[in-house]
Amino acid sequence: MPSKKSQAREAQPNPPIEQAEGPPAPDPVPPVQLLYCSVCSFPPEYCEFGSSLTRCKEWLKDKHSSLFDKYYSDDALSTKLGTLSMEAQAKLEKDTAKKEAKAEAKADAALKKKLASQVTIKRIERNKRKHVTSIHGLEAFGVDLKKAAKQFSSKFATGSSVTKNLQGQDEIIVQGDVSDEILEMIETEAGVLKGIPADNVEIVEEKKKKGGD
């Protein structure tokens, strides 16, 4: 504790004055350059504790083969055990495999859900001349609706906003009939409209009811 206090006092004086008069300030210590796994974000030596070891290893072998040898060669694997018993290591490996399978199943389910989702572009007739276009279901593909609405309004130079439909779900309403153009934007993956298979998009029409208001 006393050493901490004296250090604190040393830190008090104003360094700029010292620098102006005294010798030049010493150079800062350079940071350690370390690599993080681009799959799981851990330092590669910790990938074995994540839920994507198989993919982590593939990446490391591909991009940094010397590190791969360092961490996964037979020698490395046997010394790595350290004080851990064989049974505990086996349990760890089993857990890792389980975690990995779970993460994969989750990713699969998310993908399936995505592929089963539908984007509906609806051309809505407001009166004889006027249409609006509603786009529903983009969020299932990870599209930020506000950004998409902004993209539509600048692309078509028209009003565009995120609103709730009668079912309480968010959708984008764009002024004017732009349904074909929006389908094309989805097909060409324009701006934020990425990763939506064209098969999952449908265009429907909503005519004004006869005799309605």
Partner: protein, 201 residues
């Protein structure tokens, strides 16, 4: 022994920036000076190195951040420079570097080490029990450089080069040796936790 913690903690939800940041405010320069002095006193870091990480002319931003720990919500102060989280503080406890900052400057905190068996529990959010620190695969500083309770420490792991987490000693290191049961080091942040996911703000 660690099982209980691991099971209840591993499935905690991931961090979502929009809901968990309670506010971002620039830090007043008088407060910045106080933080700089405290960091220089608490970490083993040279003023010029701290200057390189956090130049005096750059403003520190205080991000009030809500974390879920032990099934409770608690506020953590995260201090950022150019959006990069560098310093964290729980309530008015000591200042910790973020784990990424510690990885760059591993010598700034004193070290403790856990054995290989404890790693997966730590990564599940469990506090570190004394036996994991005192066992053959663990590491505590020698008696002449014993650490008191309440010291921010780098948590290293058997057979690994880089720190796995940052913690706060709950007992003095000599006491950990003597008692050798229950929690020795509370874990403040670790690889893969919500704060780790927070690369920039």
């Amino acid at each position: 022994m660690f099982k209980k913690f691991a099971d209840t903690w591993t499935d905690l939800g991931r961090f979502s920036p929009a809901t968990d940041i309670a506010g971002q405010t620039p830090v007043k320069s008088s407060v910045q000076r106080a933080i700089r002095a405290a960091v220089l006193a608490q970490w083993k870091i040279e003023p010029e190195t701290l200057e390189a990480i956090w130049p005096k002319k750059e403003g520190l931003v205080h991000v009030k951040w809500c974390v879920r720990a032990q099934r409770q919500r608690e506020h953590v102060s995260v201090y950022t420079v150019h959006g990069e989280p560098l310093i964290i503080q729980h309530f008015d406890g000591p200042y910790y570097p973020t784990l990424r900052l510690l990885h760059k400057y591993p010598y700034i905190l004193p070290k403790v080490g856990v054995d290989r068996g404890a790693i997966r529990f730590l990564l599940g959010g469990a506090p570190m029990m004394c036996p994991g620190l005192t066992s053959k695969g663990g590491y505590l500083p020698p008696p002449e450089s014993a650490l008191p309770a309440g010291t921010a420490v780098a948590i290293h792991a058997e057979g690994k080069e880089h720190a796995v987490g940052i913690g706060l000693t709950k007992l003095g290191t000599e006491e950990m040796r003597r008692v050798n049961k229950d929690v020795g080091v509370e874990v403040a942040t670790y690889l893969g936790d919500d704060l780790w996911a927070l690369k920039s703000l």
